[in-house]
């Protein structure tokens, strides 16, 4: 288990550094409207790219994944909490898997 353990330490390091370096290095306020707007939009862009299309490969079956995605989108559109959306999608995938 030594190699996996070292791998995990390295993963932790390259996860921690991007989180703290900008916080430590940039202490002045940015005035540029462009940069400010860009930074505000980053999380939405990242999460969109992380979710689609990979969500369709997440359950081992396209049909169950599509049903789960539709349920997640519907619940999120109704502004349900993180837990409800996650659990709702899991149940939808599981039930669809039982039916097909």
């Amino acid at each position: 288990m030594l190699k996996p353990f070292i791998a995990v330490l390295l993963m932790a390091l390259v996860t921690y550094l991007p989180r703290v370096l900008p916080l430590v290095l940039f202490r002045k306020e940015i005035k540029s409207t462009f940069i400010k707007s860009f930074l505000k939009y980053v999380p939405y862009a990242v999460l969109g790219a992380l979710t689609f299309p990979d969500i369709f490969d997440s359950t081992g079956d396209y049909i169950t994944a599509i049903v789960g995605t539709i349920v997640a989108l519907f619940l999120a559109f109704r502004e349900k909490s993180l837990v409800i959306v996650a659990v709702g999608a899991i149940i939808a995938v599981y039930v669809t898997g039982l039916i097909i």
């Binding site: 995990v8 932790a12 940039f26 400010k36 990979d54 081992g60 993180l82 996650a86």
Partner: protein, 255 residues
């Protein structure tokens, strides 16, 4: 305003800020449980010991990066490949950290930055950036406490029950991570056209890079970086400084 407070008033203010942050972090903490549960399942099913699986969540505290890194560990990939892939997926945290560096109170010192920075995730960042006004150190500490506990606890539960759980359930749980991302991006996209545009553009770019054969040399991590930079740039060009639109969506994501 803080300068004129006595030390007792300051402590009260800090406690309030911590509690407020903690409450904002609770929905994230609960949302993390099914996702980290899935991670615990996946890692121990793959052959990692329970302690290492829990240690991954505690030390990495990230979704996409540790899922990818752990899969590589399980397939026997080299240390360099594991580290580089994880790093590339996590580069997005630099953008978030950079953004937060503009939003936190400037008096927060380096040691405090090194501490609360550990807890920046897609979800805590989104919550922090949607909060009105400057962010205090106490608020940030409160915000990250629940999610760290939820992420670790969920992993431990998944790792411990993995033998007992049928495959059909663990397959279904694979969607949890993505469902959580959907829960974060849909409400603001509903209220703000610029955000909807940016999300759709980012997805479109990712799909093009993934399925057009010319781009097949671009790995998954780089696809996400390219899509993020291009679409957030397009957003900044076409919809500059839409401060109000974004802040309006606070209530939606908060509950």
């Amino acid at each position: 305003m803080v300068l004129s407070m006595t030390s007792e008033e300051l402590q009260m203010f800090n406690q309030k800020q911590f509690t407020y942050g903690f409450r904002k972090g609770l929905p994230i903490a609960f949302g993390y449980i099914p996702v980290s549960f899935t991670f615990g399942l996946m890692a121990t099913r793959g052959g990692l010991p329970v302690w290492l699986t829990i240690f991954i969540s505690l030390s990495n505290l990230t979704s996409a990066g540790q899922f990818a890194g752990t899969e590589l560990i399980l397939t026997g990939a080299g240390l360099f490949e594991i580290t580089l892939t994880t790093f590339i997926i996590n580069i997005r945290y630099m953008l978030m950290s950079f953004s937060l560096s503009q939003k936190i109170e400037s008096k927060i010192n380096i040691k405090q930055r090194l501490i609360f920075g550990f807890g920046i995730t897609d979800e805590t960042f989104t919550m922090a950036s949607l909060k009105q006004g400057k962010l205090s150190y106490a608020f940030m500490l409160g915000l990250i406490t629940g999610p760290i506990a939820g992420w670790t606890l969920g992993t431990a539960m998944g790792a411990l029950v993995s033998e007992a759980l049928p495959l059909s359930i663990s397959n279904a749980m694979g969607i949890a991570l993505y469902a959580m991302f959907i829960a974060i991006i849909v409400p603001p996209s509903k209220k703000s056209k610029p955000i909807l545009f940016i999300v759709l553009l980012s997805v479109l770019i990712t799909i093009l890079l993934k399925y057009i054969p010319v781009f097949s040399f671009i790995s998954g991590g780089f696809r996400i970086i390219i899509a993020t930079i291009l679409s957030a740039c397009a957003g900044a060009i076409f919809f500059p400084d839409k401060e109000e639109t974004i802040n309006n969506s606070e209530e939606a994501t908060a509950c």
